[in-house]
Amino acid sequence: MRSGAALARRAPAALAIALLAFAVAWVGYKAFGKGFGETGNGPQFVIVALNGLSLAALYFITASGFTLVFGLMRVVNMAHGALYLLGGYLALDLIQHGMGWWPAALLAAAGCGALGLVMQQLLLRWNQGQDLRQALMTIAVAMVLADQMIVHFGGEPETITPPPALAGALSIGVYHLQYPWFRIFVMGAAVGVAALLYVVIRHTRFGMVIRAGVDDRAMTSALGVNVQLVFAGAFFVGAMLAGLGGVFGGTVLSLAPGEDDKFLLSSLVVVIIGGLGSLPGAAVGAFALGLVEQLSAVYLPQAYTNDAVLLTFALLVVTLAVRPAGFFGRRA
């Protein structure tokens, strides 16, 4: 009887592994079933996989800000998607007014950070601990921002031109393929953001204060640390990362009403899969979501291509069945 119960407990995990194995085998068959030569589907697979990785990088940059703010302050910032889109639009506007890509990107990200800071000081500072009320407030802010962005930037999809230095494509050395420099840059930027956050949080005094604040806010404050200043800083960085994600997203993909909801959803899914407040979790979640989205768009049987969003749903369900708090989550 005991072994039966243990078996039942392991069933979700076994099922998840079986599903994963099947998915890998299916994609492998579709990609290399006709051999590894240049005439098969190998080249297509390489491009699709790279697209998945660059999308994952974009998701990670955006979601890392979301998870950072949650990890420290227990605030679910539902306006994160709106800040993402705003970052993109601000950069687009600055570039259209003659500014270069790099300063425009920095200014747009800083602008989003400043807006996030204002939001935190005005709306979230005086009601700490009322987490549901705070989440609902950020939802209201998201609605106002989304509507105002339609007023100021219109409803037509727009794209930011990449900086001249990154406009070309790189020969990647397999199958004589080329891949856009900018997308490679986004992947590098994601690694950079991850490394920077890791070093700051693990190896600096500021990071030490952040970690102490996560574990015991009252005690940290009692030890003479200005926790409010740290919170303000973290919210600024979180919102800035959303804005930076928007600048990259606006260059790689496009900017349009609805993209804010898309990136709010991706941030939610990424942190639910990875575990709220965990940076490695955000990386794992972003990988999973980016690859699943890109691969499913190409490798699902033709008749089911439109159902690709169901795989995101399945990813969520299976993860929660196996790990209810996400892969790196710990329940408070």
Partner: protein, 334 residues
Amino acid sequence: VTARRLAPLAVVVALALVPLVFSTYFTGAVASRALYLGLAAAGLTFLAGYGGMVSLAQTALYGIAGFVMAKLIVSDGVDPLLAALIAIAVGVGFGVLFGAIASGSEGIYLLMLTLALGVITFYFFSQVTSFGGHEGINGVATPRFIGDPVRHPAAIYYVTLACSVGAYLLIRYVARTPFGLALQGVRDDPVRMRALGYSVRAHRTLGFAAGSVLAALAGVLGTWHETRISPGTIDVSATIQLLTIAVIGGLYRVEGAWIGALLYTLLDTYTRGLTGRFETWIGLILLAILIASPDGISGLAAQLQTRLRRRRGGGPAPLAEPAESLAQPGPVAR
């Protein structure tokens, strides 16, 4: 005491007189719309008030029922009433599924998870061609006893009113059943309920199922009322609007759902042209209510009542029935 007993009856009689007193336009565009939106919001206030679960997937369940019914009627020629029953069954099925997924979490975790489920449902209906894609499904027929809801809205008004009154009474009844009491126990202290031998997840899932009945019913009535449904009906902004309705009326008060829906519909109908950006204003109103009185209009009324009673030095403050309040710290901070 008699006045208290008679008040609900008076409200129902007054509501029944609406199609006779007001214009056809008001009955259709304001009154019956407010009723079905209130029904949808009541699902949310039921879950929030008695289950402690602020679910943003109610709009998705509304949409699932609406789309299933519309497809059955328009492409398969199923009788509208039968299609509605099937649609509600499908909606409740998904309610159980969503509940099973979300029941492992609580507070803001549940809020995030249900929002993700809602957005995924929206993308599903906007991408899948068999449900009409972006266009949605138009020309949904209504049952014969409802007829044309645009030219003669009285019939659909009375049907929606009957469903609303029924739903309200049912919610009050369910809250007093052993299941309802256990659900409130799970809301207040899941750890203790688990220790007492109750299955927390099963109660939350069943709560979701009950909430999905209201959402699916509202989806059916709403789709009949509009004679169409499109993915735009269930997008994020629609989800936030439903949340706004519930928050205006008081997120933890069942009757607040219809009060909020009436105020919202009045604003939507008569000020949309004046204010220009309606959604900005709705967002600002939501924000203002969350700042000033997180328990909404009916919460404000209760506050005033308590204050008056205290000033008069009368009896003890009334026991606020759903004990939860947004102003209290969430489960994480506790």
